[in-house]
């Protein structure tokens, strides 16, 4: 089902703009399609789950549902940061609910299709498949993420890890 949902959305995002939730992560600005976002909650106690890659911080109780939480900094190989009262968990719905830990949530932006550039080629070794495009708002550039790909890529490397272990 995911694959079915993914294709049209990816295409439409590349050609057409829409509303994006922007957040910051280690001095960079990112954007998520608002339709994927279920809710935003403050950082809370996370229960660690054994045998998980570092970026999978564990599980939280989202009003009776136990959902996994991923630290996006660690996922992107950025240096870890202390959680503060600015730290947020963005709960996204990618078929299942998953929490993403980001430094701070900023705003919801309307980004026109004309403002979005395709992801730049960064060389063969750099995987840019989870980047939808670069949104140019005023003087700033927001990296628009394809959250399905971010998290499915997470799953892949997770699987690799568990196979090695």
């Amino acid at each position: 089902m995911q694959a079915v949902m993914q294709t049209p959305l990816t295409q439409s995002a590349a050609t057409r703009g829409g509303k994006y939730l922007t957040f910051s992560l280690a001095n960079e600005e990112y954007g998520l399609e608002i339709l994927k976002v279920r809710e935003i909650i403050g950082i809370m106690d996370i229960t660690a789950v054994p045998q998980m890659p570092e970026y999978v911080k564990g599980v939280i109780n989202l009003r009776g549902k136990v959902i996994p939480v991923i630290d996006l900094r660690l996922k992107f190989g950025l240096p870890p940061a202390e959680y503060t009262d600015q730290t947020c968990i963005i709960v996204v719905d990618i078929g299942t609910l998953t929490g993403i830990i980001v430094d701070t949530v900023q705003e919801v932006l309307d980004i026109e299709a004309t403002q979005i550039d395709p992801p730049p080629p960064l060389g063969a070794n750099v995987d840019t498949s989870f980047i939808l495009g670069l949104g140019k708002v005023k003087d700033e550039v927001k990296i628009l993420l394809d959250v399905d790909k971010v998290l499915s890529a997470a799953e892949l490397s997770e699987l690799e890890q568990s196979l090695q272990g």
């Binding site: 054994p50 136990v66 998953t98």
Partner: protein, 813 residues
């Protein structure tokens, strides 16, 4: 007669014949059948008004339709061609009651008669072979009324049409057709499967009641209903075989409840066989829906059972088959309950018919005549209403219920937080309101939880059938006593306990109860008893299976276990331990393998299932007196009793049922094995110690002597978990971990703790595996063979019998 009822029925019929009829359109034919029944019933037999012609045509048409639906008509095309004609005739009769109907009736009778002459043909040829009877081979429509032999005359003589079935009945052979399911209807089909499964349970226990007391027409009547429902839905879903089979059974029951056919044990036997086939049919449809391979859905052959059932039905008296009724007539209810005679009802009906404007209610007339009291009419009326409405329940998707339960769980947590808040304690008025809310929240929680609960009765009732079959097959005389049917259990638990119960009851009858001859020699009553009981005990549900048979032979059990290598030769076992042997894999006490039990599978499966439900089995036995099996089950799978323990900075939940003991060990009891791990001596058994914090990556190694060791039962052996602190016991709601964590071993789920945080629930088996891998990874020497669960059993026996030597093995395994 009430024109108001006739008009819509006529309209319905007219509309139905507007399009060309097709025999495969069972739904439409069934609708028409209903209309005809309405028409034939609305005018009561005692009705003096001259619309008997209409009634008669309608009744004949109903029979014809029924036969067409049942595929018992020799010339379906000709019979179908008659229908529009009959409908026209009915419409005319409504306005002009004196219209002649003889010819039409004769034609319909001919179509019906054609049936009988053909029906004797054997199944193999019945499909396309031309009927042998010359009379029937001509299309029925063209047979002139005069040429029709006695049957036509009989039908024209105002006799109820069904009587035109030949006096010496020929049994129609049933030919099934390939079943092609409409996959677009799979939702309906699934609903049907689920619903009919429920009915099956009611049917089986009902049938056994009927067998015990065949004269109890009320019981037969109760049985009639589920069959009728299944038949109806099957008809609409074009499940012809099921429709036909239930119809046939229904016919027999109908005859039975009208005292036209004696329900013998043989009859019940055949009906049960039919029910078995029904189950098979339903199962095959379900399988097909899960994986539709061919165009045609495979289905079991029902031709022989159909023949048998029809043979039984043919033994009935000569009276007509009354049309099916969803709702019992008030009169019937009054006759059965208030002791009103048929004559009184008939005269009341007559009176009602004579009064202008449709007359008063029958009940009122009866009260006036003094035949019944008003209360009796009231109660009969309410019964009638209840029967019409069916059960007062709705089906709810279980996921919705779970959502509700989740939400309520959160509500309770939020409520607790408010309760504990500073402000609440300081403000009396607020505290009062909060306590009021607390009460309501608790009610809501209880109600939400209870919605998943269903009574265990139907599951226990299912065993009746089993006991009956098994006792017959083994030549035992066994009576089954059931109590505690109203005890409620989580639906999932009930579903999963059913199979283990089957094994245990089967065992009780086959192994427990002695054959009658032996019982007589022992001076016991010839009939053995098996008791099934369910009751609450503390936080558990106990299901008790007790028999008064031979009991378990302790010595024999031990001898067998030694022979099978399950225990050492010199082991001293308590009675409990000895009895527990029979649930070990590969252990069977029956000297002979019968086709019922005794293959050494069964009891260990029971144990596995009960374990999976987090339950326990207890066995008590007294030689010569009988055996009692107690299955203790948690009330629900959604909640467990857990011990909350602290490991590093995390809290984890250990299911309380698994905990043997917790202790602070002394250094003397702990042995280290070459720096690879530690074992501890607990009551003469070596347990590997598992550093939970280290294993889960929560903390560093801790000293077991400074902290706490929890001894948990893990399949056949014990392991010691080293944890920082015991926090307390609590009931927790189990949540499944997200898909992402499927491969995590050592954790069986998550629980929401009292403060709203998530705690992981431990799975000792997985922990043992993790521990073994962990220990192995610490080893630099030649790697041991990989751990597999089956190896533990063998090595466990070694561990516990010998002392120092296998220390290393104990650490690794």
């Amino acid at each position: 007669m009430a024109a108001a009822e006739i008009r819509p029925a006529l309209d319905g019929l007219q509309q139905a014949v507007r399009e060309p009829l097709d025999r495969n359109n069972l739904g439409r034919l069934a609708r028409m059948h209903t209309y005809c029944q309405i028409l034939s019933e609305t005018a009561h037999p005692s009705d003096a008004q001259p619309n008997s012609a209409l009634r008669q045509v309608a009744a004949t048409l109903a029979t014809l339709l029924e036969r067409i639906i049942l595929d018992e008509v020799a010339q379906p095309a000709a019979a179908l061609a008659l229908i529009p004609q009959a409908v026209r005739c009915l419409t005319d009769l409504f306005t002009e009651p004196s219209r002649p109907t003889d010819q039409l009736l004769a034609q319909m009778a001919a179509a019906l008669a054609g049936t009988l002459s053909d029906s004797g043909a054997p199944a193999a040829q019945a499909t396309d072979s031309p009927p042998a009877d010359a009379c029937a081979s001509a299309p029925a429509v063209q047979v002139p009324p005069q040429a029709e032999a006695p049957q036509a005359g009989a039908a024209a003589d105002c006799q109820p049409p069904a009587a035109s079935r030949a006096p010496v009945p020929a049994i129609a052979a049933y030919v099934s057709e390939p079943l092609i399911l409409d996959l677009e209807e799979s939702e309906h089909l699934r609903g049907f499967i689920e619903e009919s499964r429920e009915h099956m349970e009611a049917i089986e226990s009902g049938l056994l009641d009927v067998e015990r007391d065949p004269a109890d027409t009320a019981k037969i009547n109760e049985l009639f209903r589920p069959f009728h429902t299944i038949k109806g839905i099957a008809g609409f879903l074009n499940l012809r075989d099921i429709n036909q089979l239930t119809h046939e059974i229904e016919t027999i029951l109908d005859l039975g409840r009208k005292n036209e056919l004696r329900i013998t044990p043989h009859t019940v036997d055949r009906i049960l066989a039919g029910v078995d086939l029904l189950k098979e049919q339903i199962a095959s449809i379900q399988n097909y829906l899960a994986e539709p391979r061919d165009r045609v859905c495979p289905q079991p052959d029902i031709s022989s059972i159909m023949f048998e059932l029809r043979t039984i039905a043919a033994q009935r008296g000569q009276d007509a088959v009354a049309p099916d009724r969803e709702t019992p007539k008030l009169g019937q209810l009054l006759i059965s309950e208030a002791g009103v005679t048929r004559e009184q009802i008939a005269s009341a009906l007559q009176k009602q018919a004579l009064e202008p404007g449709g007359g008063r209610k029958v009940g009122a007339i009866l009260v006036e005549q003094g035949a019944v009291t008003e209360e009796q009419v009231e109660s009969a009326l309410s019964r009638q209403m209840a029967a019409g409405q069916g059960e007062q329940s709705i089906r709810v998707d279980i996921n919705k219920l779970d959502l509700l339960i989740d939400a309520v769980g959160e509500l309770v947590i939020a409520q607790t937080m408010v309760n504990l808040h500073e402000g609440t304690r300081q403000n009396d008025a607020l505290a009062r309101h909060v306590s009021q809310v607390t009460k309501i929240v608790r009610d809501v929680q209880e109600t939400a939880m209870s919605m998943r609960m269903v009574p265990i009765g139907p599951t226990l009732q299912k065993m009746r059938r089993l006991v009956r079959d098994v006792s017959r097959k083994t030549g035992r005389e066994v009576e089954l006593h059931i109590s505690g049917e109203e005890t409620e259990l989580d639906k999932t638990v009930i579903q999963r306990i059913s199979d283990p119960l089957v094994h245990m009851v089967r065992n009780a009858v086959d192994h427990g109860i002695e054959p009658p001859e032996t019982r007589r020699q022992l001076g016991k009553p010839l009939t053995g008893n098996v008791w099934l009981d369910a009751y609450h005990q503390g936080d558990c549900i106990v299901i008790e299976v007790r028999d008064d048979g031979r009991g378990l032979d302790r010595e024999k059990l031990i001898a067998k276990a030694v022979q099978r290598g399950l225990i050492g030769r010199d082991e001293q076992l308590t009675d409990q331990q000895a009895y527990a042997l029979i649930v070990q894999p590969g252990f069977s006490t029956a000297a002979q393998v019968t086709d019922i039990s005794g293959r050494g599978v069964g009891m260990d499966v029971v144990k596995r299932n009960v374990d999976a439900l987090r339950g326990k089995i207890e066995i008590q036995s007294e030689p010569g007196r009988g055996t009692t099996f107690l299955i203790r089950l948690p009330l629900t799978l959604a909640i467990i009793d857990g011990m909350i323990v602290r490991v590093g900075r995390e809290r984890v939940v250990v299911p309380t049922v698994l905990i043997e003991q917790s202790l602070r060990p002394q250094q003397a009891h702990i042995s280290s094995v070459q720096g690879r791990g530690e074992v501890m001596m607990v009551r003469g058994e070596l347990c590997p110690l598992v550093q939970l914090g280290e294993l889960f990556g929560y903390s560093q190694r801790i000293d077991p002597c400074e902290n706490i060791v929890i001894i948990v039962q893990c399949e056949t052996r014990k392991i010691g978990l080293v944890v920082d602190e015991l926090i307390g016991q609590q009931q927790v709601v189990i949540k499944s971990l997200a898909e992402r964590f499927k491969q995590v071993s050592g954790v069986s789920g998550a629980a929401i703790l009292g403060d709203g945080r998530v705690g992981l629930i431990l799975d000792p088996t997985g922990i043992l595996q993790m521990h073994n891998r962990h220990v192995q990874s610490l080893r630099c020497a030649a790697p041991e063979p990989k751990f597999t669960p089956s190896e533990t059993d063998a090595e466990c026996a070694v561990d516990s019998t010998t002392a120092a030597e296998p220390l290393a093995a104990a650490v690794v395994n």
